[in-house]
């Protein structure tokens, strides 16, 4: 084959791969939406599940998802942002920062089932929290911590060095420099990280099912067990309770994830545009 023909063939394959990937994504989203939307209604969103979820709605699982996500962010956000600030603004590269980075990267690679096992043995059993929002939230917090640390670090690194110089030269202390010159500029990036972390928490099943439980009641306190939408979806599908409700729940999940992604990528676009302008 000539060079030109090889190239044409190779590029054809690559185009095909890209289109195929998009098509699979469209298929997954489309299938769940098409089969799920018809059974979706306000009543489904605000109703209580009956007969294990065979009938009724999914309101408690929506509450469970949101509460669990928020609790995990409440814990992971300050930890993650603090950690990122320390790594970027308060220290030089050293053995210590390498150790911390190793910890962050390793934590990011730990599979969620391991988080589930750990959350179960540590929070649920050892600290006697039982299956609860608190135990699930703490487990999820550890899981999303690397996401928040990384995105915050990246966002902080895009802040021009000149902002720091100006701030210091006008008499800022280090913390003043961070809060007035660095963080405001890095904010969109940090928020993107937090939103993506929330997305991970919404999607998660393995780490949640063994720590927050599968209770279908509305939670009363952080010590109540909850069932998230993803867990509910899993149980409906695997235990063959109701395919129809599974599709409907899946559709709600997909829409939630879509919304989260749209917000995140619009923030990223804004961030990129701002950098270009500079």
């Amino acid at each position: 084959m000539t060079t030109a023909r090889t190239q044409r063939f190779a590029f054809g394959c690559i185009w095909l791969a890209a289109v195929f990937t998009l098509a699979v994504l469209a298929l997954v989203v489309g299938l769940i939406m098409v089969r799920g939307l018809p059974s979706l209604s306000i009543g489904f969103l605000t109703g209580t599940p009956e007969n294990l979820g065979r009938d009724g709605g999914i309101f408690p699982t929506i509450v469970g998802t949101i509460v669990l996500g928020l609790v995990s962010l409440l814990i992971a956000t300050p930890l993650g942002i603090g950690s990122a600030i320390y790594l970027t603004e308060y220290t030089h590269e050293s053995l210590l920062t390498r150790a911390i980075r190793f910890g962050t990267e390793s934590l990011a690679g730990v599979p969620s089932i391991i988080f589930g096992l750990f959350g179960f043995i540590f929070f649920v059993t050892y600290l006697q929290m039982g299956w609860s929002i608190l135990a699930g939230g703490l487990t999820l917090a550890l899981m999303v911590l690397p996401t928040i640390i990384r995105t915050t670090e990246e966002a902080i690194r895009t802040v021009p060095q000149s902002y720091r110089n100006v701030s210091y030269s006008l008499g800022a202390t280090r913390w003043q420099m961070v809060t007035t010159a660095v963080l405001p500029s890095a904010l969109p990036g940090i928020i993107t990280g937090i939103i993506l972390a929330f997305g991970r928490a919404v999607s998660e099943t393995a780490a949640v099912i063994f720590t927050a439980g599968t209770a279908l009641n509305l939670p009363k306190s952080v010590f109540s067990p909850v069932r998230t939408m993803a867990v509910h979806f899993y149980i409906l599908a695997v235990e063959g309770i109701s395919l129809e409700k599974a599709y409907a729940t899946g559709a709600v999940l997909i829409v939630t994830v879509l919304i989260i992604n749209v917000i995140a990528s619009s923030l990223i676009t804004r961030l990129v545009r701002k950098q270009v302008r500079r």
């Binding site: 902002y163 030269s169 006008l170 008499g171 800022a172 500029s185």
Partner: protein, 251 residues
């Protein structure tokens, strides 16, 4: 001579890199000192030593002393934020922080804990007038500083420094990134400002050094080769190296 700042056998190094070597030099009060020399001669290190910004480099070391009003700036009682408010700095690249014009100018005062709106208003207007920017921006103080042109942003940077009512202005090639008209505006402004401030400037050209300096110091390889009042360095340099440099025969 009424001395404001005094370098006393001061040596500055970043790691093994000696930036300033045994500098002894007076800076006169309410006058403009122009510090010039080729790239890497230690001019910026000189400026950054006065407000101790040099210490932000992790491997900074220094010897000797610098005194301001007779007191060592390295004395334990000296607080860095206060020192930097007394000796405010403007950089070569104009930097508008991503906030409104008003917030940019009042930034240093707010860092110092000033919250009173009327005090801030007055300081902002005074600083903008002094930096000749007031008439151009007085109607849009709330618009982002980033929207200003390069020359305006540099005068904004100067206003931001002036708002602190510093005793010393440290200008690190403040017109390097600007067009001739903006440069002329800033040079005129400097002449006005020296009545109230001690100014140390790293000019972006020898001509500028000659235009704005009441005194000049020629730096080479971290050493102060020659120091002289008025136009002496440019008209009748004593050192051969200074003469070569100002007449363009350098290197």
């Amino acid at each position: 001579m009424d001395i404001k700042i005094e370098f006393d056998h001061y040596t500055l190094a970043y790691g093994r890199d000696v930036v300033l070597n045994d500098i002894t030099l007076p800076v006169a009060r309410n006058a403009v000192l122009a510090v010039f020399g080729p790239a890497g001669s230690g001019k910026s290190g000189f400026l950054r030593s006065i407000n101790r910004m040099a210490e932000l480099e992790s491997n900074e070391r220094h010897q000797g002393d610098i005194r301001m009003d007779g007191v060592s700036i390295f004395a334990p009682a000296v607080r860095l934020p206060e020192l930097r408010r007394r000796a405010a700095m403007v950089f070569a690249q104009p930097v508008a922080l991503p906030m409104s014009i008003y917030d940019n100018v009042s930034y240093g005062l707010r860092l110092a804990g000033q919250r009173d709106r009327r005090t801030l208003d007055a300081a902002v207007e005074r600083a903008l007038r002094a930096s000749t920017l007031w008439d151009e921006v007085k109607d849009r103080l709330d618009s982002p500083g980033l929207n200003l042109s390069g020359g305006q942003q540099q005068r904004l940077s100067i206003a931001r420094a002036l708002a602190l009512e510093p005793e010393v202005l440290l200008l690190d090639a403040p017109t390097a990134a600007l067009d001739p008209i903006s440069t002329a505006k800033i040079e005129d402004m400097l002449i006005d400002l020296k009545a109230n401030y001690t100014i140390v400037i790293v000019p972006h050209s020898i001509q500028q050094a000659a235009r704005v300096g009441d005194a000049a110091a020629f730096f080479l390889n971290g050493m102060c080769v020659e120091y002289g009042a008025g136009n002496q360095l440019f008209v009748s340099p004593r050192d051969k190296r200074t003469e070569d440099y100002v007449t363009g025969r350098f290197g």
